[in-house]
Each structure stands twice: as structure tokens, then as C-alpha cells.
């Protein structure tokens, strides 16, 4: 393939992926508020545009016009750096996630693969990028020189680190089944058998459970939203942040939610696999989005219906329950893989 064409293909894919991700982030914030409202028998935001559909635009404009405060004793450099540090890795992760197989476009004489890139250490790269996000939160807590922020930052550092262990251990079962770190290969291996090839059914239900719980904890969502705990820490690590800096934390959190949902789909729910994808490749992205939407709904549902954990309970759950469970899963899936 000529270099220019290759570069063009990547640029187009990145642009499309980026626009889709940003739209999903914007509308996820609206859908979350609407769904929460419906669960609590309220209306939610429904004034701006039909069904409140323009609410994210109004929110964005408001963020731009808000005053941008830097507290007096803050560490200015880190204070400005922290939101960027949590936003950049959150936006980068989606490059590696395959949203479909190979499709043919009109006017093009070759098939186009529906993933931006595929590297042979895909999972490690995703884990590395999501791991980077911790720094933004910890530094935000430290830089603001606010007691609530510092507590939020500290709590989140310990929480993210603890649940990251369980998360990466739960992936090992998938790797044993798939025999590859490449996300594209992992999805391809899960095809066939009317969905029975998905790792959640194919000997990884335990791994799926551990991954699901630690993924919710990793994205700081209820019932694990200790770092921001509105009622005790005011807003945790972003108490002192306003305007676009706050918006960046907000976007990072929602982008992380989408990425985590996409990762759970890719690793355990067969990615874009589904009935009929081999005949109609364009069904792939549809299945993928449906599965991601399921996880995103789960996030909101959990937030609406579960109380926040106490901090010692959170650490106990991570270290004394999830971590041993993930280790058991590693041994179990290795033993099972030997037999089947």
C-alpha cells in the first residue's frame, strides 16, 4: 500500500473514531442524568432542545464561559498539568479497540479493517494507558492544597492501584484461552458457536465478574466513587477545579467509562461478534455498540441503586476478596485449558 494512502486511512479512522467517542461522552452525560431521573421518578434535564438533546452543548458552552480559578497556595504547574494528564490517556485508549471486522466501502477496491491500529501487545498498551490516568487524579489532589482534594487523591491512588491488580489478573484467563495479546486476534478467536465462544461463557465467567467489578472501581464510579464522594469529601480531587479544567476531568471520566465498557466487550463478550457478521460485516459495529451500551446502562443503574462503600470495606473487598478470586481464576483457567 502506498505510504500516503496508509497515512490517509489512519487519519480518517482516527477522525471518525474521535468524533464518535466525543459524541458518546457528551451524550453519555445526558443519558446518565435522564436515566437517573427516570429511576428516581423525576424528569431530568428536558428543557434544552427536544427531550433535552442539546443539553451537552449548553453544558459545554457554560464550561467555556466560567471563571478559571487557581487557588493561592496551589502548585501552579501541577495544577494545570493534572487535568491534561488524566484526559490524554483517556482519549488515547480507543485506538486499539476493534469495533468490527473487515468491510468493503463503495469506491474502494480493498477491504477496510474497522480498527485504527493493531499491535501485538494491545492489552498491555491499554493497561498502560489506563494506568497513566491515576497520575492526573493524584496530582490534582496534591496540587490544589485543599484537604478534601488531598484526601480524595490519596484514596483514589490506593483504590486504583488495588483494583488494577485484580483487573490485570482477571485478564490472564482470557490470554490463556486466546493465546495472544492482540485485541483483534482475541476478538476473532471468540467467533462461532452462537456466542458460546465468548469468553464469558467459554470458561471465564469468574474472570468476567472480577473484571467487571474492578473496571467499575477503576473508573471511580458508584458504588466505588470514594475519590469524589460528594457527601464527605465535597467533590474529592476536583473540589478546586472550575471551568474547562473541571470539564477535562469530566470528559476523562466518561471517556474512561466508554473505554472500560469497550474493553469488557472486547475481552469477554466477543467484541463485534454476533449472528450474521460473517455475511454482513456492517453488523459488527452495531453489535459492538449494543454491547457497550449494555455496560454503560449497567454503570448508571449501579449508580442509581447502590450506596457508597466505606473506605475500609472497599480496601478489604479489593485485597481480601477480589485478588484471591482472580488468582483462583488464573489457576482454574490454566487447568481447564489443559483439558480442553
Amino acid at each position: 500500500m502506498p505510504p500516503f494512502e496508509q497515512l490517509l486511512e489512519w487519519s480518517v479512522k482516527i477522525a471518525v473514531g474521535f468524533i464518535i467517542l466525543m459524541t458518546m461522552v457528551a451524550y453519555l452525560s445526558l443519558i446518565e442524568r435522564r436515566l437517573l431521573a427516570f429511576i428516581q421518578m423525576r424528569y431530568g434535564p428536558n428543557r434544552v432542545g427536544p427531550f433535552g438533546l442539546f443539553q451537552p452543548i449548553a453544558d459545554g458552552l457554560k464550561f467555556i464561559f466560567k471563571e478559571d480559578l487557581i487557588p493561592l497556595d496551589a502548585d501552579k504547574f501541577l495544577y494545570v498539568m493534572a487535568p491534561a494528564l488524566s484526559l490524554v490517556p483517556a482519549l488515547m485508549t480507543f485506538t486499539l479497540i476493534p469495533v468490527g471486522g473487515e468491510v468493503t466501502l463503495p469506491l474502494l477496491d480493498r477491504p477496510i479493517a474497522l480498527h485504527i491500529t493493531s499491535i501485538n501487545v494491545g492489552i498491555l498498551a491499554v493497561l498502560a494507558m489506563t494506568g497513566m490516568g491515576v497520575h492526573g487524579i493524584v496530582l490534582a489532589g496534591y496540587a490544589s492544597n485543599n484537604k478534601y482534594s488531598l484526601l480524595g487523591g490519596l484514596r483514589s491512588s490506593a483504590q486504583l492501584v488495588s483494583y488494577e491488580l485484580a483487573m490485570s489478573l482477571s485478564i490472564i484467563g482470557v490470554l490463556i484461552q486466546a493465546g495472544s495479546l492482540d485485541l483483534v486476534t482475541i476478538v476473532e478467536r471468540q467467533g462461532g458457536g452462537w456466542g458460546l465462544g465468548w469468553h464469558v461463557f467459554w470458561f471465564q465467567p469468574l474472570g468476567f465478574f472480577v473484571f467487571l467489578v474492578s473496571m467499575i472501581a477503576e473508573t471511580n464510579r458508584a458504588p466505588f466513587d470514594l475519590p469524589e464522594a460528594e457527601s464527605e469529601l465535597v467533590a474529592g480531587f476536583h473540589t478546586e477545579y472550575s471551568s474547562m479544567k473541571f470539564a477535562m476531568f469530566f470528559i476523562a471520566e466518561y471517556a474512561n467509562m466508554v473505554t472500560a465498557a469497550a474493553m469488557a466487550t472486547t475481552l469477554f463478550l466477543g467484541g463485534w461478534q454476533g449472528p450474521g457478521v460473517t455475511r454482513w460485516p456492517w453488523l459488527g459495529p452495531v453489535y459492538f455498540l449494543l454491547k457497550v451500551a449494555f455496560f454503560l446502562f449497567l454503570y448508571v443503574w449501579l449508580r442509581a441503586s447502590s450506596p457508597r462503600l466505606r473506605y475500609d470495606q472497599l480496601m478489604d473487598f479489593g485485597w481480601k476478596f477480589l485478588l484471591p478470586l482472580a488468582l483462583v481464576n488464573v489457576v482454574l483457567s490454566a487447568t481447564l485449558a489443559l483439558w480442553f
Binding site: L7, P71, N145, V161, K320
Partner: protein, 138 residues
Amino acid sequence: MVPTVFFLLQQTATDTPARGPIMGYIPIALLFAISLAIPVGALTVGRFFRRTVMTQEKMMPYECGVDPVGDARDRISVRYYIIAMLFLIFDVETIFLFPWAVVFDQLALFGLIEALIFIAILVVGYYYAWRKGALDWA
């Protein structure tokens, strides 16, 4: 930078097109540049539109309306350090297990026994940490 990228792209033209090992990283680098531009853009755009009035009170750290007492950057509970150390140990363990899991097909029974010994050693350490109360919070 650009000539290097084009050299690598030239390589793909002759080599494996879609999954060349180094080529896959170029889109990630591209996206990194774009992602960097977003925070920079977001922080500069607002500057032209908003009115900023700074007062002493507004710039104080928020402490529920009361004047802040002392400095926030105080001593940190030792629990956090213990968690950090335990994390290091177990994270390195996980990293060792990743390549093992990928080639598990070829290792078969030998690999399973090896891994069981490896995990057993770690479980002993984990049990020790648990009994010593390193995992207890409070």
C-alpha cells in the same frame, strides 16, 4: 520525524501491510499529538470569552466556608505506603504471568506446574501480609 515516518511507511509498502510490528504504533503517536492539542486548545479558548475577577476570598482553598486551617500537605498515613509496596510485588507477579499465559498452549503441563509453584510462593507472602495485618485498614 516526518522523513522517518515516511521511511517506515515505505517499508510497509514492500513488507507486511496491515500488521507490521512497528507500524501499528504510528496511529497511537498521531492520536497522542491530537489528544495533547485538546487540553491546550480547551485552556486557551476560554480565555478570550470570560471575565475574570480575582479576590482574596475566592482564591482561598475551599473548606466549607471557614478560613482554611493550616496547610493541606501534611503527613500521610503509613497505610498508603504499605499498599503501594504490596501493589509493586503483585504487579510484578502479574507482569510475569502475562507472557506465560500467551504461550500456555506450548508449555502445557510443564507450564501449569511451574506457574503453580510460582503462585504458591506468592500466596505464602500474601498470607504473611494478611496475618501481619498489612491488609487491614483502621
